[in-house]
Amino acid sequence: MTQGVLIIGGSEAGIQSALDLADAGVDVHMLEPRPFLCNIHHSTLPVHLYRTRMLEAARHPRITFWTHTDLDKIEGQSGNYKVKLRQNPRYVDLSKCTACGDCILVCPVSVPGTGRKAIYLKDNCEPGCAVIDKSGIAPCSHACPGGIHVQGYVALIADGRFQEAIDLIRDAIPFPGICGRICTHPCEIDCRRNEVDSPVSIRLLKRFVSDWEQRLPQKPTASTSMKPKRKAVAQKVAVIGAGPAGMTAACFLAGQGYSVTVFEKLPVIGGMLAVGIPAYRLPRDVIGQEYEIIRKQGVDIRLNTRIGPQGDYSLEDLFADGFGAVCLTVGAHKSLSLGIPGEELQGVVQGIDLLKMVSLSQQTNDPVWQKSLESLLSLGPETRAAVLGGGNTALDVSRTLTRLGLSEVQILYRRTRDEMPAQAEEIEETEKEGVRIQLLTAPKTIKGNQAGQVTGLECLRMNLGSPDQSGRRRPIVVPGSEFHLDLDLIVLAIGQEPDFGFMSPDSEIAIDKDWRIQVDKHSFMTDRPSIFAAGDAVTRKHMSAIEAIGMGKKMAQAVDHYLQEEKACLEPQKPYRMPVAKREMAPHELIPSASIQVPVLNLKNRLQGFDEVELGYSQKEAIEEAGRCLKCGPCSECMACVQACKPGALIHDQAERVLHLNVDTLIYADDPDKAFQYREKTEGHIIEIAPDDPVQGSAAAAWVKTRPKTETIVYGTQNIVPGAQPDIRIGVYICRCGDDMGGVIQTETLQKRIQGYDPVVFTDILPFACRRDASTKIKQDISDQRLNRVVLAACSCCSSEQVCFSCTFQRVRCKKNLGIFQSRQEIISHPEHGISLPVNIEFINIREQCAWVHKDNPGLAMDKAHILIQGAVSKISATMVTSLESFSRERSVMILGQGQASKVCLEVLQNSGVNTVHLGKVLAPMHYLDGCYFLVQNGHTLKSRSIIITPADESEADQIMDRLNAGNSRPAVAYRPGQTGTTRPGLFFCDPQHDPELVGRAVAARSRGWLGQTQGFLKKNSGKVDPHRCRMCYSCMDICEAGAPQVINQVEDRHIWIDPAICTGCGVCAANCPSNAIRAGDISDRQLEVMIEDMLSLGRADRGE
């Protein structure tokens, strides 16, 4: 047994087909690749009618919508298909979104070429919920090791929202100012603007907002925007090394409530940031400001404190002191040696040692650093220096030396410029400052004099050969190319590695082949439990500040997880990785526009000291540069929508969902030009129909067999007041719609006013009536408080199961949650689908009818809301006591007439197990009794619930109609030329002018659907006659257009009964009944009476009459 039918395309025809099938008892899956079902197929239906049809399908318990879903594969054959569907993430929860549009207002991204934002709604399309246009994570965000939502803050800056931008950055990392200056920007490397001209200067944008924040009168107090999750926790964590990795970890752990102590052996904070990067690139006060915030969060930083067997404490001491975990973030401060003769001579120094001397002499009062520096630069400004290496350290050293006054500084590098690991812009600046770079030059021997002082360097010229294991081309010595350089100072800057002096030989912490601490790549835990490591100490390939920060954060999360799980084994966490966005861009988006050059200090001023060289963007420049972003997402993940969404409907990390369905029929009702895409997926047959022709839709439904069923129908349960509970217990709920209906209605005050009435025993306020938690609460309250009536004051307007023009997706959802669209029997067997207790629910609209039209007058709006609720309370208190009616209804149809369509109808209906009779000629008048049509012809009594008229021509049509109207059924039925329906529900017509195949199938499907429909829903609007009041005056029978009132002719009891299968619910009979015996159109005369009385008297009370 399959799961039903798959219909592709939410067109008018598709929906018609779906409804005909669902009413007949078939499960239908509607597939729509777009995020919305919209009327793009030029159906002639006006907009509000199309929307109403869509909602009718949306509310049907047998129809499931799969929007934003693609059909990947079709396997199997007709009658038994296996389809593979892939539901693309919408990123919005369809069970929570209220379509308020707040998210759209705050979205900073306007998607080029669409005229809308990255998050959007579509008017008059269903589902009426927002959707985010996001094909994946932007390449810049994907590249950031720190996990910053890069496109997000760029978009916010472009929109002038600097505070939100800096908050977004701080959500991920605590060092925006530092990274804004020295980051190696993997984001810019992956920026898709590289394909057009040059990348967006993301690093400078980050610097801009950081500087902007620092200039605010109110300084930032939290280093990250992440709200601390816990209060203080008992555990202590030790961090070794106050560099970027360690401090990021400390910051996050402090935010989680841990007591963190950072041990730093140097006299300054910052690690490599402070002693490896010169001040002209990263001013010390920037480091100081960002570290101070962390210190203020309660992190204890102990400078001049060394860990290790020769230090102040050993690792074992730390554990003995009660630290629950230790983080080794010691960085890589030990330099690699060249291994050439002469390295031990005086005047040969390691680059990072030199930089440290300079930094510490600038930052501390300790004279030892200045002295060491002076002894190195033995000839003062005349010192001739060569720096060996091609990375940032080599450049930093050279530029530092020029600032110290040296005029002859050169860099020797053994490969070419392209292979230099340093950043291109740094290389440029270095050359501008007068440093000469000698490429393809390698050192051979360092020469010295008798005193052990360096005098020069013997070098070799190199050529490039084939690539080595790092992927770079190997330098090969050019034979006989030796040459000599006279030098006083040689600085080695070829690489760093960690100093493992803090570990005792038996520490059991493993070192890997790259000479780094071995850690698990997800949890950063070493072989020794409760010892973790991150940063330069664990990696050789990814040695940068932002990598260290990213690792520090992940390590902190692992430490937290580890400590909370009471030292349980740490499972490596594999978070869901979204694909990288590869949005297709239109030509007009790819017009080159040069990146804005950042102003820099002029050369003369630069070299006079260590003032910051880069001056940063102005506000105007920043906004313009941020505007160059190509919006790859296009959603930037700035999370502004998440902040703005009151019902909490955003799911930014939603993954796509793959599912398999087993269906027996495929119907295609979408754009005919695209049908081939589906045809080529299967050898089986797909029924194709024109999207704007509902008759074809019904005809397609006729191809599907439905199962025969005889069901007991239970009518009128919505009006039940069971005899066992004579007292009226009403619960009133007021919906806030998130913000008290736009702040107009003070829900608490309103609630107090309602609490005064006698039959109201319970009141409550709901944040969102259309969200699942509301219906769960209501159901619980009905049970707990023994409620038998509920008034819900929200935006929903009527309590019937019908869908009218004013319905919205959210109102249908609210009613669905309460089970309004299910029959009572279905809910009894599936209690999670609705309320199975007999409860009468009234909905009233205090939003469109009250709050939104009286915005300027909240006091009057409140009074009116009170009056409307009172009206509902009065109405619901006056419901009629009535009993449950149940009938056994069989599916039976009579086909009358000799037209060709009769054969088609007969075949379809018989295949579906419907009792069908075909009468070529109608010789006797037809009567209607007990819900069925019958006639006696040739001695046989023939009976059926539904009739299909299939005349061969117009004269036969009229003849059959005469027979129908000759009997007792009143009023006269008429057919409508060109249409399948007549003036009476349940009577169908096959126009002889139309193709008998098409119209025959369509009518058979619609008749079958009608038979099922009258079994399925409870019709709240349909008429109910109070037998005790009925005087059999026949006024209702005379006046009813559809012919619903029937005579019930029992021995003790003669009265009118209104057939719910035919009744349309208009209420005209009720208006004309002289005995006020009919409740119809959802309301009885008595109910109207009390409503008007109570509402108007309340209105007078408001005026103090």
Partner: protein, 143 residues
Amino acid sequence: MENKKLIVFTCNWNAYHGMETAGVEGISYDSRVIPIRLTCMGRISIGIILKAFEQGAMGVLMLGCPKDECQYDTGMHRAEEVMGKTKKILGLLGYSEDRIGLDCLEAGKGKAFADRVGEFMTRLTAGHPASRETTKATFARSG
């Protein structure tokens, strides 16, 4: 007259949607309007309208579907019949004809709803129809 209410009956289909649209578009109208929704304007009867006046309503406005668009075919015709009869009775009771109205409202026309209400209010309050009403009207109002 300042705080007396105006009862507006709308049918469930076109007319209600017009009123709903006024809400969606945030178009303000007089807050003295008390809306009561019926399935079809054919549901209205003389007694209901008189009840409203008995209980002190200032006026009764009925809005239904446009001509030939009645969801139930003939509802509006019934409403017109009722309207004719009710006017006569109201006249007998001493009420001005201006106090009740029957009109159509298309779906989706929010401004039209506000306009109908506004026009009706103007007719009600301008020219003080109360002054033209006879004292016979007072007995009906003492509810």
